[in-house]
């Protein structure tokens, strides 16, 4: 009951934020110096062409009417029409979103699965060799541009040793008939895994490093708490203290960081998609900027913000599973 109410209130809180995002995007898009009609039609359009375009995109209306129309259309899932592709923005985004989500989910999985053990071991063996190595790795991880890691991995694994492919991502749900060299579903899955490996590590390294750093420092904090000292004094085995007493209590800040890292992960995904030539949302926004396709730029920005907000809500909700002390307001 409490959880349902908490979820509802978190979702409701996200609505003004998303409306704010839409407003910022709309204001930015309408602050463009120059006439968007000119961008669409080139240097010397005829008067009738201008009128036709103005009428089609509703540009004759005052700004606030257009804003209300845009928000109203957005509620029905309509983000307008792409100038370059001449298809609905929603359609274009739905085509590209799965690749980006797949990339981000896999790199997050990689990051969490490597970072949490690494951080815990680092804290457990503080100032020993393992700790130093893990700290150096995570320092380099937070300080390296993800696209450069990508380039270096392409250099090593694709060009020099020819172990892994670096372009033409195969989606795991693709039809085997349409993929060269694949006959069964299993072939497709294997190929997708191989293709995904380099982009996943390239994008996940930053998240991995950031989570390792926070995991280590939180574990160290918890390990100096009174109740841990007490448990030690009682002769509880170090392993048990680590697993049962310290670990769980150290996870809340870690979860917060995991959620907030989504912002840099989305930025990293844009760059990773460019490096590995993945046709996702990131390449879509970069190409749209080059083509001045404003409806598409607005659409991708709003959807990226939506992904971020949903991610933060999910991390907030996952507090409940980690920390039973977290109350969801029913007692207050």
């Amino acid at each position: 009951m409490g959880l349902v109410r908490y979820t509802t209130s978190r979702v409701l809180q996200a609505i003004p934020v998303l409306l704010g995002v839409v407003t910022i995007t709309f204001v930015l898009a309408n602050a463009i110096p120059g006439d968007p009609v000119q961008i669409m039609l080139g240097p010397s359009p005829s008067q009738t062409q201008i009128e036709a375009i103005r009428a089609r995109y509703g540009l004759n209306e005052p700004l606030w009417v257009r804003y209300v129309n845009y928000v109203a259309a957005l509620l029905t899932g309509d983000l307008g029409q792409s100038i370059y592709y001449d298809v609905p923005v929603t359609q274009k985004i739905l085509e590209r979103l799965p690749a980006t989500l797949l990339l981000m989910l896999s790199s997050y999985t990689f990051a969490i699965l490597t970072a949490i053990p690494l951080g815990v071991i680092s804290a457990k063996r503080r100032n020993k060799l393992t700790d130093h190595v893990s700290r150096i790795v995570s320092l380099i991880g937070v300080s390296t541009p993800s696209f450069w890691i990508g380039l270096m991995m392409i250099l090593i694994f694709a060009f020099h040793t020819n172990l892994l492919p670096s372009t033409n991502l195969v989606m795991p749900w693709a039809d085997p008939a349409g993929i060269r060299g694949a006959e069964t579903r299993l072939d497709v899955l294997v190929m997708a895994g191989q293709h995904l490996l380099l982009p996943m590590v390239s994008l996940g390294t930053l998240q991995m490093a950031a989570i390792t750093r926070i995991e280590r420092s939180e574990m160290l904090d918890v390990l100096t708490e009174e109740y841990v000292k007490l448990a030690r004094a009682y002769g509880v085995a170090e392993q048990t203290i680590l697993r049962k007493h310290a670990f769980r209590n150290a996870q809340l800040p870690v979860i917060t960081i995991i959620g907030l890292q989504l912002s840099s992960a989305i930025g990293g995904a844009v760059l990773t998609e460019v490096v590995f030539e993945i046709n996702g949302m990131g390449r879509l926004i970069v190409d749209s900027i080059a083509r001045q396709d404003y409806p598409l730029i607005m659409g991708t920005t709003i959807v990226f913000a939506f992904v971020f907000v949903v991610g933060v809500i999910v991390t907030d909700l996952s507090y409940a599973y980690v920390d039973p002390r977290v109350s969801y307001g029913e007692a207050e």
């Binding site: 003004p16 934020v17 998303l18 704010g20 995002v21 407003t23 910022i24 995007t25 930015l28 898009a29 602050a31 463009i32 110096p33 320092l139 380099i140 937070v142 300080s143 390296t144 541009p145 696209f147 450069w148 380039l151 270096m152 392409i154 250099l155 060009f159 989504l262 912002s263 840099s264 989305i266 930025g267 990293g268 844009v270 760059l271 460019v274 490096v275 926004i285 970069v286 749209s288 900027i289 080059a290 001045q292 404003y294 730029i297 991708t300 920005t301 990226f304 913000a305 971020f308 907000v309 933060v312």
Partner: protein, 344 residues
């Protein structure tokens, strides 16, 4: 009586000694001098500071060379000396922007050999696809990284501090409005926000600085707000208010200086983040336009020549990595030095 006093007196005397004129015995664990002393004891932080200093000096040299001499070139007197943009570089070495004559393209670094010849000390890190010296371009690329990284951070730092302080100090609806706005700004992923900014205002360096700066406002604003909320209730703020000090003076003279330290640490780390973002933007082609060198753009070009010339893409990445590591370890050291929990 005397027997009871006897064991106590030495310790009491010690305590008095320490508290009285024995200044060195009790050390204040706050203040600039103490922080600097702590940092000086921390070899990692000192390494970070050293890296920042080296990159800073190189960037300053490159900036002076490009701005001052471009300005000097306007005067006839200097024309006969051949003064132009990148004058020092051009005089003692070669131009970082224009194609030199007679330099082999894609020459490897010293100690390596490829189809274009062997590396020479004239070009320690090799040459790029147009025969320009890579080391020189990296040095001149530091200009963009450092100036944009620092100025974007200053923009975010100053505006974020003001927003956070006002929000935390006034509370109530001001707080609500400003924090909702910050939250909204924060919901648009950093790079996407900067990209949207560039899409609208164009690919000028100024807008990149403001874009990256504005995108970092929420981080600073939240940090300082949380400090201000706790400081607001302190007695000395109450006293200042009672003494008739204006809100503006309370915020700028009392609240901000007292909430400064965590923001300073964040700012140091933020410079590193900003450098990464700027490199990413340049890599995507939205940074400074060629031929002006920047690290990200060098990496973008190197993608086309990676198979026979891997170093072409290794060096600029190393430059970014080393610079950002410098800011990160210095920031970590600063945090440890400012955090009383670590000082024992």
């Amino acid at each position: 009586m005397a027997t009871i006093d006897e064991p106590d007196s030495p310790t009491t005397q010690d305590a008095i000694d320490e508290m009285g004129d024995g200044e060195p015995a009790i050390e204040a664990r706050v203040g600039w001098r103490y922080t600097l002393a702590q940092i000086r004891k921390d070899p990692t932080a000192m390494t970070g500071l050293f890296v920042i200093a080296v990159v800073g000096v190189l960037a300053a040299f490159a900036t002076i060379d490009s701005i001052l001499f471009e300005y000097l070139a306007q005067y006839q007197v200097f024309a006969q000396f051949g003064v132009e943009k990148y004058w020092i570089a051009k005089t003692v070495w070669m131009s970082p922007v224009s194609e030199p004559v007679g330099t082999p393209r894609l020459l490897p670094p010293v100690g390596f050999e490829n189809q274009f010849g062997a590396g020479t000390w004239a070009h320690p890190l090799g040459t790029d696809d147009r025969g320009r010296d890579i080391l020189l371009r990296i040095i001149y690329g530091s200009r963009i990284a450092v100036t944009v990284g620092l100025s974007a951070t200053v923009v975010g730092f100053v505006s974020g501090t003001v927003v956070g302080a006002v929000s935390g100090y006034y509370g109530d609806w001001v707080d609500d409005a400003l924090m909702r706005a910050a939250e909204t700004l924060f919901a648009i992923p950093f790079l996407v926000l900067v990209l949207a900014f560039i899409a609208v205002f164009g690919r000028s360096l100024t807008f990149i600085v403001f874009g990256v700066g504005i995108a970092s406002i929420p981080t600073f604003a939240r940090l300082i707000r949380s400090r201000v909320v706790s400081i607001r209730e302190e007695d000395y703020i109450e006293a200042a208010r009672a003494a008739g000090v204006t809100d503006r003076n309370i915020i700028f003279r009392h609240v901000i200086p007292n909430s400064f330290t965590p923001v300073l640490v964040q700012a140091t780390l933020q410079v590193g983040t900003a450098i990464l973002i700027v490199a990413g933007l340049s890599f995507l082609g939205f940074g400074v336009q060629p031929p002006t060198p920047s690290w990200g753009q060098m990496l973008a070009v190197s993608r086309n020549y990676m198979i026979p010339n891997p170093w072409f893409s290794i060096w600029p990445g190393m430059a970014i990595l080393i610079t950002v590591v410098g800011f990160n370890i210095f920031g970590d050291g600063l945090r440890d030095a400012l955090d009383p929990r670590f000082n024992n």
